[in-house]
């Protein structure tokens, strides 16, 4: 094995294992944080109230934050490569406003549950799917789809959805209007395990897709022609990437509402440190984003306990300064 090749493997596995360890540490440690002291020993032995606090209040919440944060950060890395724009987010191409519009419609109409699921989630999912189909339809209308037509279609449909949300909010009554604002702030709640299982399935499929395609995304991040001249089926990759990223971002948004900043800052900061190889950047974004959102949500639920702060406020307030610090500390590698 050549020296450079061995060196290269070290540069790959070291940051990846560190990021994975970070997510694992968050999963183990964060459920212990909170006003009530609990221990794993008592909780696993089924003792009350430790077991109830762990399994019904804290663990589902940490799991949701991990899944949502990981999915948003990995989708952010994907969209930044797709649009060749380091400031793109999973929300740039409209899917989260579609989900939000769906949710706002459900809140305004006062729908409760549908087949045992909250109507807000289902309506948000439908909104996300509708926007996904619309953007793909508009972007591939007439001539070939490119990241530019995708961006135009996405940004336009994004604005239309935002206008719809504003209208519904304006027309809504006082209490509905408050519910709408609360939903639009985004937040992590302790959800049922069947919801977590469904989300985990979507996120795992997405991770499998990204892992398989991450090499091709390196080439797409350079340019469409660059990728095509090296044998990549650009149209297919772009379409599959947009659909996969939007599906996962739409699903997450339907459950948590729009949580900003994770999808922008995590891949961006990691890229400054680790470089742009998506085979490393995408999985590291996933694990780091998971740990980051879980940590932010822990702060959100404990800092002013028993009051809660919307987690989106925490992600922006802690992530922003951290990001500025990374930018200022230059391009020195964190790992090596």
């Amino acid at each position: 094995m050549a020296v450079s090749e061995r060196d290269h493997r070290r540069r790959f596995w070291l940051p990846l294992s560190l990021a994975a360890a970070l997510a694992l540490a968050a999963l183990v440690a964060l459920p212990l944080v909170g006003p009530a002291r609990i221990s794993y020993a008592r909780a696993l032995a089924g003792q009350s109230p430790d077991a109830e606090i762990l399994f019904y209040a804290r663990l589902p919440r940490v799991l949701l934050a991990l899944l949502a944060g990981g999915a948003l950060a990995a989708a952010g890395a994907l969209f930044q490569a797709l649009l060749r724009d380091a400031l793109a987010t999973p929300y740039t191409l409209g899917v989260s406003s579609g989900a939000s519009l769906g949710a706002v419609i459900a809140i305004s109409a006062g729908w409760g549950t549908l087949a045992g699921w909250p109507a807000v989630w289902l309506s948000a999912l439908a909104g996300a799917a509708l926007v996904l189909a619309l953007v793909v339809g508009v972007a591939s209308e007439g001539r070939r789809m490119s990241s530019f037509t995708l961006l135009l279609a996405g940004v336009t449909i994004n604005s239309i959805c935002l206008a719809g949300i504003l209208f519904l909010q304006y027309a809504a009554g006082f209490s509905q209007s408050f519910a709408i604002v609360r939903w639009l702030l985004g937040g992590i709640d302790a959800v049922e395990y069947r919801t977590l299982a469904g989300l985990a399935a979507v996120v795992l499929l997405f991770a499998a897709y990204l892992t398989r395609q991450s090499r091709d995304w390196n080439l797409m991040a350079v340019g469409e022609e660059w990728a095509a001249a090296r044998g990549v089926h650009v149209q297919r990759l772009m379409l599959s990437g947009y659909i996969a990223g939007s599906l996962v971002a739409g699903t997450v948004t339907s459950i948590t509402g729009p949580i900003g900043f994770v999808g922008l800052i995590v891949p961006h900061a990691l890229r400054l440190r680790l470089g742009a190889d998506h085979r490393l950047l995408m999985p590291c974004s996933f694990f780091t984003g998971a740990a980051f959102l879980a940590l932010c949500d822990t702060v959100a639920r404990t800092a002013f306990s028993p009051a809660e702060i919307p987690v989106g406020v925490i992600t922006a307030m802690t992530g922003g300064p951290f990001f500025i610090w990374i930018l200022r500390s230059g391009r020195r590698s964190l790992w090596l």
């Binding site: 050549a2 724009d85 001249a229 742009a276």
Partner: protein, 257 residues
Amino acid sequence: MNSVFRTEELGLSYNGKAVLSGVSLEFFAGCVTAVVGPNGAGKSTLLSILAGLRRNYAGRCLFRGREVRDWARRAFAREVAFIPQTVRIEFPFTVEQVVLMGRTPYCKGLFEGPEDWEAAERAMRLTDVLELRHRDYRSLSGGEKQRAILASVLAQEPRALILDEPATFLDLQHQIAIHSLLRKLARQGMLVVTATHDLNLAAAFADRIVALRQGRVYCDSPPQEAVNAANIEAVFGVRVEVFRTPEGKPWVHYGRL
């Protein structure tokens, strides 16, 4: 000679307007062909069809006897490589990563194997960028970037190399270095097709000059015949004087400006 590309009545229309039409040419292994012509004459269009980047052409474009659009993308990328005018990269890829991307059509798994690393190192040595391998591509000078891109394309180990004005932004030394490398590759059997605006450079290093005018082939002959005052006025619409260098190659004097 060994024909690699053959086009018959090749054409391409863009929004109903023909940018290339009736192009019938043959390209041979081991031969450097310079494609010249004014802006908008169809040079880039012709090259991008040859490079397999536009599959919606009219007429025929055969590579090794098979229609270019019928080639599987990966198999074609192992045979034909393309260098655009400039490659702008937004993200922090190292030179080594950029060069290894040339191995994409060969890679089965997610990572490059030993032969991919060897090919990349050979290519980097050939274009003299081994020293730069860990540098961020974006921090390179124009000449270094062009050499890194050339290494990426050579790592592809193609049979044919298509270049769209590869030396436009290079200083004299690097222009000459790139073109002598292209000559060397051609002597080893590679087919080289390059668009250029520099007629003197084309006359000096190409075996053959194809001049395009308004999307059609105006002339297709060795530099000694192609480069003369009458042809240049017909193709570019400017009056020039053509002298001979001591080796007998044509040399275009653009006159008093």
